[in-house]
Every structure is written in C-alpha cells, then in structure tokens.
Amino acid sequence: MRWIWLDRFVDFQRGRSARAVKNLSLAEDHFTEHFPGYPVMPAPLMLEGLAQTGGILVGEVNDFREKVVLAKIPMARFTREVLAGEQLIYDVEILHMRPEGASVRGRVLVGEEVVAEAEIFFAHLDQARSQQLFGDHNFVFSGELKKMLGLAQLQGARNQGSGVRDQESGVNKNAGASSLTPDS
C-alpha cells in the first residue's frame, strides 16, 4: 500500500512554510468502511497528511539527511467532517527547529475554511536517540516523499520556462532554492 497522503505541493518556502493539496476521492479504499453511504475522511489520515507536509518541510532544511519522524501531537482540533469530493489544503508552518527535532503548526483548509488544525512535533531520530543504531540509510525520505518535493520543483521550473531539472533524484540540488518559482 502506498502511504502518501498528499497529492501535490502548491507552495514551498524553504525553512518556513508549505502548502499541499489532498483531493478526496470516493475511489480511495478507506471510504468503503468509513462509512458506507457517508464517506468521511478519517481524522488520523488528515493528521498524517499534515505530518507528511510538515515532515518534508522540516527534512528539506537539512537536505533530507535527518530521519524526521512524528513524535508528538500536543494539540489537534477538528471543526467539521470532510467528505469525498472535497479538496483539502494542508498549510504548515515551522514554529521551532533544533538539532534534536522541530515543531510545526498545521491547518487543514477547504477553500478559506479551517476544518482542522494541529501542532506536531518531529524528532530527528539520530540526534535524539544516538544510542540506538538506525543505520545510515534514510528510510524516511528514501522514496515517494522525497520525490513529491522534486515534482513540485519540476512543475515550478516548467512554469518558469527554464527547462528540465534533474529528474533522476527528483530533488532540486540547488542549495538556494526557496520556492516553486525560482528567482533566476
């Protein structure tokens, strides 16, 4: 099963904030049982979407060298149910970053309406638990999550008409890249 709870990044301000879109489709498996005839997006999956948006935002600050994992959700609030057919925006900003981890604030929007919000803590696994050996391979950012950001940057570049970026790794290797529409 693919565990990607975002469809696309629509804004990315390095080290500050990011926005991603999640379209709710009745074709998704979880709507079968939740609930038959009334397809409600499960709250934990919205939290996961916020966490993935925030995790990529935090991870990108250190070029995905840190293993960024969800560690604590101090606050989460859900205003109303959202149903299949709606489009969610995951709007996340970094509150605090340290070597050991980071905290972000996330809001789930439908249009301008805030339907949920949460504060999320991430731990940098190697920095926070150096006695345990997790190995060098970064299993957090080894696949789809990292490519999502690369795709966003590719789209940004295409919109600017500046040609094709590095497609192999899917990640923009320019250290100064700060948003989808590059300055140069």
Binding site: A71, K72, P74, L95, H96, R98, P99, E100, G101, S103, F121, A123, A128, R129, S130, Q131
Partner: protein, 132 residues
C-alpha cells in the same frame, strides 16, 4: 527580573501544558519523569516552551545533559555514574541539587534530579545572566 515565585508559576503552567497534568500535580519537588509522567519527547516540548515563554535560548545539552544519559563509559560504569561523571554533572548542572544522588549514583535514578524546582532554578540562572 521576575521573582522566583513568578518564574515558578510560569514553569508550572508550561509543564501543565507540555505534560497534560493539573496544577495540583505540580509541586516543587515533583520529578518530571517519575511524578509527572514525562517521556523523552516531552523534554523537547518543554525546552521549546521554556524558550518561547521566557525568551531565552537553551543550547543543546544545557538543561538535559546528554553525555551522561547516553551511557558514555567514562561517565557511567555498570549502571552507576563514575566520579568523573559526577564531576561532569556538577559542572553541567549547577542548578541541580546533587547531594542525594551523589550518595547513591544509580544511572536509573538520574531522572529524580529533574524536578520542577530544578527547572525554576535553571531559568532563574538564565534570566540573571541576561542583561535585559
């Protein structure tokens, strides 16, 4: 510079939020891990909140010194903190009350050092250092 009582009540409010405990649970001698149920990730939460609440910077390892907790063999042998380790603790944590711990330095009871009072003394020290 706020009074010790003012600092204590702000620290208490911070711990109540971070650890989801009631005001009644917070006493000066309450230990973060034993009495208030703090986990390792909660220490990060507490550091974030203290920095924000008091407008200070808490460098890594200043409040919760990691070298001892990682079981560095110079500082910890057979689950007990060595003399070198105790010296390190005294140097790194001048705001902690080490007398009881020094008489029986079991690594497993090091969490008992972290009381509400200790955090209050630490913040007092930090605020006293700044020139604001």
């Amino acid at each position: 510079m706020p009074t010790r009582d003012e600092i204590y009540s702000k620290v208490s409010a911070t711990l109540q939020e971070a650890l989801s405990v009631d005001e009644d649970d917070i006493r000066p001698t309450a230990t973060l891990q034993g009495d208030l149920g703090a986990e390792s990730i909660d220490f990060l939460d507490i550091v974030f909140r203290l920095e924000r609440e008091f407008g200070i910077k808490i460098p890594r390892g200043e409040l919760f010194p990691e070298s001892i907790f990682q079981g560095d063999p110079e500082f910890v042998q057979n689950g007990r903190v060595t003399d070198k380790g105790l010296a390190e603790l005294r140097a790194k944590m001048p705001f902690a009350d080490l007398h009881k711990f020094e008489s029986d330095p079991e690594l497993s009871s090091i969490g008992d050092l972290f009381t509400v009072d200790m955090i209050t003394r630490y913040i007092q020290g930090k605020l006293g250092q700044s020139d604001n």
